[in-house]
Amino acid sequence: MKRNSFLGLVLIIGLILAFNSVAFGWSLEEAAKPYAGTTLRFITETTPPSYWIEEALPEFEQATGIKVIVERQAHPHLEEKALMDFAAGTGIYDVFNFDYSWTGKYVKAGYIVPLEPFIDNPELADPNNNLEDFYPRMWEGTMWDGKAYGYPFDSVIQYLFWNKKIFDDHGVAGPPKTPDEWMDSMQKLNNPPQLYGTGMMAKRHLSVVCEWLCVLWAFQGELWDENYQVTLNDENGIKATEFYKKMADYAPPGVTTWTWDDVNTALQQGRVAQSVQWDENYGSMEDPEESAVVGQMRYAPVPSYGDPVSHYGGSSLGIPTSSKNKEAAFLFIQWATSYDVQLRGVGKGSSPTRRSIYQIPELREKYPSFVATDAAADTTGWRPRIPEWDAMVEALALELNSVIAGTKTVEEALNTSAKEIDSILTEAGYK
């Protein structure tokens, strides 16, 4: 018996080792051998993680012999370039950084491919790549009809950036927890033209819609209910938008022309005491070359009348249907979103999408945003992911910007938006 069980144990250990040797045997170098000499074109947004990937790229190129050309574009132009290529089927781009709210649009148009065939291919997929480590919300953002179309690349959660030093210097307790406290702090900290109570991204642009959505959710409002009945102009919607309009009284002149870029500069220069902003910019607050507020910035959920509010705006790396180098593209995506690459880029632009990185105590200590992102990641609100969202953004951006610019009343703007969104939903057959 003993001998038998001993033999059994040896056999089991042997089997485990054998399997492990297969597992341990996987290496990027080996996997990439058939694709050496390939050139990939990576189209991405001008965001911090893209800069980090560009910096780290030589090590991938050296290990694989695959050359990668990175093409960075601002948010709207990214789609311009990508859609032209995808619609024409030219196959210029091999790796595509896509916003989670675009997933439906690109999948339905047949422009991106599901990753399962690659994930299930043992020659390509790194067995040590723990996909469970991606935040579930971010993973879900890449999914459509039960299939994954990308690996989460850029965290991008929108919440409140508040400057602790400015709050302390003015004797204002922070962070504000409710919209009342929030408005109160804006009022107390507002001392123009030296300092403004808040920044705003109120340009006629996606930015005004994103920021307003945070406020809408804070007031327990929603764009529409489960039956696609538009509710954005209900009582909560009106209160939220009145609040959003009042914020402009404590914001710098010119916020009707500001996007997230302008908000970031104002936060870095300490011109505004607080602002709703995307977490991927945490590194730029701590960069002594650019920032006058090193060590001062803190992060909190958007003050809310209900549960804490934050807004997921992240993006993933996917493979266009028209790409002629899909396997090599998958290897690049796997590398760019790997634990190791995300971790080494912390502070250099990387905006990790893996929970384990946010839970490293030293990083939480050094980067206060890590605590906030980790807390927010499971509870973030979503923008709609339906293909019709672009047209709704257009309508909302114009109306909300008109409210801040003072050409429309809150009711007028919300009613017009509601009517337009309702007709888009009806036309698309949702109701």
């Binding site: 340009k203 642009h205 710098p252 002149p253 010119g254 022309t257 910007n401 610019a405 050409t407 429309k408």
Partner: protein, 308 residues
């Protein structure tokens, strides 16, 4: 008859006929290039304007040929009429001011001995790419540190609560100022060249008759200069109606719809909504507007020529 022709006559027949063919042969490359870069895209765009074509939708969900539906939806859209209005105001004010400024400066410069350096300096804004001009002025108009904003505030012409590009009432004038800054030199140069080429005889006659400078200007300079004036106006109006670069760089059509010119409206339909069909339809409307305006102006021009 043929046989009676002498050698030279025969030769001249062949030469002239081959000259004729040769003329066409020389023109052929130009005609082919023109067909490729203007005729073909125009026909293609017309096809798009009459189709349901959206880049962001799968090919099988598109309806294909839909007749004039795109035009109908566009004409029913209040944003289109707003864009038309903004474009109209932009064109009339910008070209109007540019013309009067250009003419005044050209008259001042006419008598002066201007050297090459001065002329080059005057031309500088015109040489710059409009997108660069737009970006440079973005900084001048910046809401907190912009030089123009600072000057306006120092002169109490603008409050600290607003900025040139941020308010609905000042955004369009601010954009027009940039266009004036960039294109007045063009009018100065063309009008100056026109002034310098005017015949001297009528002026000498006027001098003998002791006509006042104003009368000379009104009765001699303007009528003689009219062809030149009309040509620069045609060029500038056509350009101003399809202005895009500086608006895109400065405001992207905002705040609200204050600077939303037709080109911006087309751009938004094409590259924010991916509705290439509708964008092409609006482009055709813009094309017709420009054609009608230029035909009117060119007709005026030919009438002026007949009179003179």
């Amino acid at each position: 008859m043929q046989k009676n022709l002498n050698v030279f006559q025969r030769l001249s027949f062949w030469v002239s006929s081959s000259e004729d063919k040769f003329k066409w042969l020389l023109l052929l490359p130009t005609i082919i290039v023109l067909a490729l870069i203007t005729v073909y895209p125009t026909i293609y765009a017309l096809n798009l304007a009459l189709s349901d074509y959206n880049l962001a939708r799968a090919a099988e969900t598109l309806k294909g040929y839909i007749g004039l539906d795109n035009f109908r939806t566009v004409l029913r859209n209040p944003q289109f009429w707003n864009s038309l209005k903004v474009t109209g105001i932009f064109t009339i004010v910008a070209v109007g001011v540019e013309f009067f400024l250009g003419l005044a400066i050209a008259l001042i410069l006419q008598g002066m001995v201007t050297n090459k350096v001065v002329r080059t300096l005057i031309l500088l804004p015109m040489i710059m790419a409009p997108i660069v001009v737009g970006l440079a002025w973005t900084y001048l108009y910046q809401s907190e540190f912009g030089l123009v904003t600072y000057i306006l505030r120092s002169l109490h012409l603008m409050s600290y609560q607003t900025a040139p590009l941020a308010s609905v009432s000042s955004a369009l004038p601010a954009v027009i100022v940039v266009d004036i800054w960039q294109w007045t030199p063009f009018l100065i140069m063309v009008l100056l060249a026109g002034l310098e080429a005017l015949p001297t005889a009528p002026y000498e006659a006027a001098k003998i008759d002791k006509a006042s400078p104003f009368l000379v200007f009104r009765k001699i300079t303007i009528p003689l200069l009219r062809p030149v004036i009309l040509i620069v106006l045609v060029l500038r109006i056509m350009d101003a109606i399809r202005v895009f670069d500086i608006i895109y760089a400065l405001t992207e059509g905002g705040p609200a719809s204050a600077t939303d010119v037709l080109s911006m409206f087309i751009y938004r339909n094409a590259f924010y909504l991916w509705d290439i069909g509708k964008a092409s339809a609006i482009s055709f409307i813009l094309l017709y507007i420009i054609m009608i305006v230029s035909v009117i102006l060119v007709n005026l021009l030919s009438r002026v020529k007949e009179i003179s």
